[in-house]
Amino acid sequence: MSLMSVRDLSIRFRTDEGLVTAVEDLSFDIAPGEVLGLVGESGSGKSVTAKALMRLNADNAVYGPASQIRLTTEAGVTDVLALKRERDMEQVRGGAVSMIFQEPMASFAPAITVGEQMVEQLLIHTRMSKAQAKAHAIDMLDRVGIPAPDKRFDQFAFEFSGGMRQRAMIAMALSTSPNLLIADEPTTALDVTIQAQVIDLMKDLVAEFGMGILFITHDLGVIAQTADRVAVMYLGRIVETGSVRQVIRDPRHLYTRGLIEALPKLDDLDAALTPIPGDIPSPLNRPSGCVFHTRCGIARAGHCDREVPPSRDFGEGHAVACHYAEAPAATRREGAGA
């Protein structure tokens, strides 16, 4: 059973320069207890997708007519895009779905203590009394590994170090026992040592609470260590999806391959760093056909620039949106150079 089911999601933004497409025909599922990694460069539409799951996009967002976001919990099925009243959306935001952000400092109000914010959220989303909420908040701070949680409860976010703040943010997001946690680049602003601690913590919490996680990051290494499945986004489309092993070991889309080859590798210091050729096109100037054809080494004129490649399944849920995804990418790359 799917916890979060997204079908044919298209999001455009009304701007002075016309409608700008941010996300196009996106479909994916997240099961309870599953971690789905969403990878892509800046501008690929990762954050817009995540915000859509909680209807947090700005008012100028236009959802396509076929778009569907369905959340299935013990309370029933919610059609997220059909929610109209603020009161109904509150059931989703911070209730069934919680979000943690890249910059924890920006998510805590500077003039209210961390404890007060945690209690406020619990009073809105649960039936706890104030005293129960406080006890629960302190318990959550303790569980994410914050020393002296009862003292920390009365402190302000600026009194926390970066790693502590991110832990407190996770504690706050999980305190309402959400069914789905959206983590938008939760470790990007952290040092590697702290990042490793936060990754371990998140894994433990998935095992303990059994919620689904949408993990957004641009770091494939972080994905490899946290996610069960991964979806690679480029210019608002999922170009490749599958289990982490399938996608990282046998990338079939040249974009996925390019992301992996651009990474500096510690076991081969002499390997050249290979950037993906060209620049990401402006969203105002979206390529026709396959969105990646302007930077792709094997694109064929008259085909790739005209026809949008459908997502095809290569077995066990490994799906690739490329007209020429048959051979393993490594051999196709050599062919492209000739």
């Binding site: 460069e41 800046s42 170090s161 970066g162 790693g163 502590m164 040092d191 590697v192 040592t193 702290i194 990042q195 490793a196 601690q197 990754i199 371990d200 641009h218 770091d219 494939l220 290494g221 972080v222 490899a224 260590q225 982490v244 092993r245 990282i248 070991r249 390019g258 992301l259 992996i260 651009a262 990474l263 500096p264 590798k265 510690l266 076991d267 081969d268 210091l269 050249a272 760093l273 290979t274 950037p275 993906i276 620049d279 990401i280």
Partner: protein, 342 residues
């Protein structure tokens, strides 16, 4: 060590006052604490460490942009030599031309109201390095081409450019005065991996072409491993290990360096998990631990580490580490934790 480094710091300390304590005693924070470092001409020198380790402050001190509380910094590029502790007036102006900084955030570093041409030309005009507008334009075009900027881009404003192009503009501006020494402070940290690869390749090529000495500050060990000739690792204001890149990555001699390696997420989902995860966070530099500053987080720490400060001493050719047990233990990472898809 070779005899004639481009820039050499000796026992450098940068401290900031922390206000007055009881009885009017003044406490201070040593952001950089007795660091000795030397960078050769044309060397790509990496500096890594967690936030709060003093990397940026050290970089700024070498540019004479942070107060030098103790120690010396000597600069020698073959044409001019300066003692940075007493540098002022015309000499300081000359040093500004020879030592430049590339910033981290290409969005914040470029004025939105200036054209790309004016942004790149500004250092030349401010320092009066060119005599005519035609000469300025010539210099701007030359460096723009080196940084792979399209000449017709020069008339546009920065908002029209992507992160990678903006970083190339920042690099062009830093290089237009013909510096011999450049500090690049987290210059690729804000970029996507593909653009990061492009900018790193560009920096490396320019550095080789122009023979610039680079101090490359980064928190990303895998990036440093790829571009730098030598690397220094900083912790709480001190250098705990410094070595040629290969030697450092083949066998780290300080447990902190080793822990940094094992914290890098492996690209292989089945990579064996190392039990080396560093616990806790970097202590406050206002109240650093006694003895070896790393002992509070070190899994090899003994009683001696709590009281006696380890000296930075040579453990292999050109490889120095500040650990009492640098010669006794093998802290090196398991081979499989390296970042590799297969």
């Amino acid at each position: 060590m070779s005899q004639d480094p481009l820039i050499a710091a000796r026992d450098l300390t940068v401290s900031y006052p922390l206000g007055r304590g009881l009885l009017g005693s003044r406490s201070k924070l040593n952001a950089v604490d007795g660091v000795s470092i030397s960078i050769q001409r044309g060397q790509f020198f990496g500096l890594v460490g967690e936030s709060g380790s003093g990397k940026t402050t050290l970089g700024r001190a070498l540019l004479k942009a942070a107060p030098i509380s103790a120690g010396t910094i000597a600069y020698r590029d073959g044409e001019r030599s300066f003692d940075l502790t007493s540098l002022k007036g015309a000499d300081l102006k000359d040093y500004r031309k020879r030592a430049q900084l590339i910033f981290q955030d290409p969005y914040a570093a470029l004025s939105p109201r200036m054209t790309v041409r004016d942004i790149i030309a500004e250092p030349l005009e401010v320092m009066s390095l060119t005599k005519s507008r035609a000469e300025t334009d010539e210099r701007v075009r030359e460096i723009a081409a080196k940084c792979r900027l399209n000449l017709e881009h020069l008339r546009r404003f920065p908002h029209a450019f992507s992160g990678g192009q903006r970083q190339r503009i920042s690099i062009a501006r830093a290089l237009v005065s013909g510096p011999r020494f450049v500090v690049a402070d987290e210059s690729v940290a804000a970029l996507d991996v593909s653009i990061q690869a492009d900018v790193l390749n560009l920096l490396k090529q320019i550095q080789a072409d122009m023979g610039i000495g680079f101090l490359f500050i980064s928190h990303d060990l895998s990036v440093v491993a790829h571009v730098c000739d030598a690397v220094a690792v900083m912790y709480l204001g001190q250098i705990v290990e410094v070595a040629p890149t290969r030697s450092l990555f083949a066998r780290p001699r300080h447990p902190y360096t080793s822990a940094l390696f094992s914290a890098i997420p492996a690209l292989d989902p089945d990579a064996p998990k190392t039990a080396e995860k560093l616990e806790g966070e970097i202590p406050s530099p206002a109240n650093p631990p006694a003895g070896c500053k790393f002992h509070t987080r070190c899994r090899f720490a003994q009683d001696a580490c709590k009281t006696s400060v380890p000296a930075l001493r040579e453990v292999a050719p050109g490889h120095r580490a500040a650990c009492h047990f640098a010669a006794d233990f093998d802290f090196s990472r398991p081979a499989a934790s390296a970042r590799s898809p297969r």
